[in-house]
Amino acid sequence: MARSPILEPPEWVEMRAARIADPVERLGFLRRQMHETRERKARPARHWRGALLAAGLAAMMIIISLPAGTAETFARRGVVSAESSAPRVWLPRVWLVDKSDSSELYSNGLRIDLTFAVSNRPRSRFPIFSLAGGPKPQGEGRAPVGIVYHTTESNLAPFEEEENHRLQRLGRNLMEWVRQDRSYHYVIDRFGRVYRVVKESDAANHVGMSIWADSRGVYVNLNDSFLGVSFEGQTGAVDEVTPAQISAGNVLTEMLRSRYGIATENCVTHAQVSVNPQNMRIGEHTDWAGKFPFAGVGLPDNYSIPVASMFVFGFDYDSVFLRATGTRWRGLDLAELRVAREAAAEGLETRQYRAMLQHRYKDIASALKEKSGEVNQ
């Protein structure tokens, strides 16, 4: 069996390759970049003394700047190595420890309550569209590629001891309703209990008209491609979520990322992916339009990722949406910049270029609608 050393190219390589439509050119580009990566990796070996010194200094700096915590907490956060070759994408390793009819226990402490577990329609193969354009999918997916975070937007009682009875009753009613509607795969109640509702192998009705993209391509209408995790809460409420919910969100995210190899960039909020095709604006739903505790659930600030619906399909936003975000996302600016740059490269006004992107979306949306009509017949 032949084995080759692993090379980690710079992050932009994959993104740029995904935008090359011609397969031969794409392969040529990747092979050149991977060759250069190999060369770059080989070069420092000639100056091993300097490299050793630099590595030593870097290790010292990292030791000095390490946050307080046990070895276990470092491992949980992925702060496990000062090596420069640490993987660019950190994937946690979480496994099922114990299972009964009513619950599952995982190695990272996650406990899933199965009391409200229910089936829905099996997850379908979902199309993946090219970032480079075109109305037809360039491939298909089967396993979940991401997570969409929601809030249940349900009635809340003050989170106080004397409200225990009411808090429990509201939670129970909510779970009955979520089960009936097959609304999410998981719900995290206000005490941090994690309930599985829709089986992971099935699609939940959580996200409807929606768009997201990664280096592999563009996903449209994410019910089949993304898992839905909802926090019992209400957008904008004073006690939006409790610390127990954030902690549970962290271990649940870890488990799902471990199980499906989900990239952090694909763990996003409902407001980031939701679109309204009637007015071609983003944010039809605004749950977690702001203040999602990305750091608390072990993720980078994904509000900084360019909004896919804007730069791929020319969606826009309005002042109502901006008010919902609170602090303006960096991802909105980056998406706008990208549209302007690409319009200039095409020799078009931004308005014209956006119209072209919107036209593509309408073609794809009508094809998907037709297909789903065929399936339902």
């Binding site: 032949a2 084995r3 995904a18 950190w90 994937l91 360039q138």
Partner: protein, 333 residues
């Protein structure tokens, strides 16, 4: 879409077929010949008929040798087995005419398209077997020499990697390519076009044919035709031959799945994929309806160490290896 070297060729030198891929405008064109031959007694009349019909043949030592696609028809007429230049994915050391026959078949295939000076050709070679460290050097070096003699500029590519280059553009050439051919099943895991793990297992189409032949008493060639014409995985078998084919097909798939798990589990430095990766099945042995489903079922039963997003059949299983070799050749230029 214009590539500097439109005239480059992809060449899949398989145990049972040789396939050439060419780029024509924005499309790919393929030509294939059986990698087989049959010797028939020489007579002037026979030679005349073959000449008139344009059937590729050579005359040597009082025999007429018919090679390529027509060899099967003549073998059927003469109730004889075809002979093959390759076995188990490599040149057959026990077949004295192996090299000359491959040369004849290639010359026939190249004849319609006269080689430009030092035209680039990317040819496929198998990976080393998982269980043993068998040497592939002779096979690769011999083909390289043969192609150089025919005025080509040869480069080689691993068969499994060719499947990745042919089918996994959408995942930036990251994923697992599996070629289920006549002599071998070849596997390659690639990460952003770079091969990470590659190996082969010696159970493939020929194993199924010869095992089924030994049980049923039929000739292996006849078993192969039955397999290619009418076998499918649906759990119900029309006759004994189909039932036996089902048994050995299942055995082959199980061996492949076991080898995959073993090889991937044994590898400690797998890349950290940031998403599940696709797997593509290709080759003539993957063609029977239901093959993919059966493979998928057996793989899902294993605790496979890499998360697989989907298992798909190549768009054109008989030509995808040659296409991948061509894409490789074009991307080199």
């Amino acid at each position: 879409m214009n590539h500097g070297s439109q005239s480059a060729l992809g060449l899949d030198v398989g145990t049972s077929r040789i396939v050439i891929a060419r780029r024509a405008e924005d499309d790919f064109r393929y030509e294939s010949q059986l990698n087989a031959f049959v010797a028939i007694p020489y007579s002037k009349i026979t030679e005349g008929v073959l000449e008139r019909e344009g059937i590729p043949h050579t005359v040597q030592l009082g025999q007429i040798i018919v090679h390529g696609n027509e060899s099967e028809k003549f073998a059927g007429l003469l109730n004889a087995e075809t002979r093959r230049p390759m076995t188990g994915g490599l040149l057959d050391a026990r077949e004295p005419d192996s090299l000359s026959m491959i040369r004849e078949i290639l010359t026939t295939m190249f004849a319609g398209h006269r080689a430009e000076k030092r035209q680039k050709v990317c040819f496929t070679v198998p990976a080393a077997p998982l269980a043993a460290g068998g040497s592939l050097t002779y096979h690769e070096a011999t083909l390289r020499q043969l192609l150089t003699d025919l005025n080509y500029e040869p480069v080689s590519i691993n068969e499994g990697l060719a499947i990745v280059y042919s089918e996994l553009e959408s995942s930036n050439y990251t994923g697992i390519g599996i070629s289920c051919g006549g002599g071998l099943c070849n596997v390659c895991l690639a990460y952003l076009s770079v091969p990470i793990i590659s190996f082969s297992i010696p159970k493939a189409g020929d194993y199924i044919d010869s095992s089924a032949a030994s049980v049923t008493g039929e000739r292996a060639n006849r078993i192969r035709l039955t397999k290619e014409d009418s076998f499918h995985f649906n759990g119900f078998f029309a006759d004994k031959v189909h039932q036996v084919l089902g048994v050995y097909y299942d055995d082959m798939i199980r061996s492949l799945v076991t080898a995959l798990k073993e090889a991937f589990t044994r590898t400690s430095n797998l890349p950290k994929f940031n998403r599940p990766i696709p797997m593509v099945l290709s080759g003539g042995t993957a063609l029977p309806p239901g093959f993919r489903d059966r493979f998928e079922k057996l793989l899902w039963e294993q605790d496979f160490p890499v998360t697989v997003s989907d298992i798909r059949l190549a768009q054109n299983p008989l030509h995808s290896t040659a296409k991948g070799a061509l894409v490789c050749a074009l991307s080199d230029s």
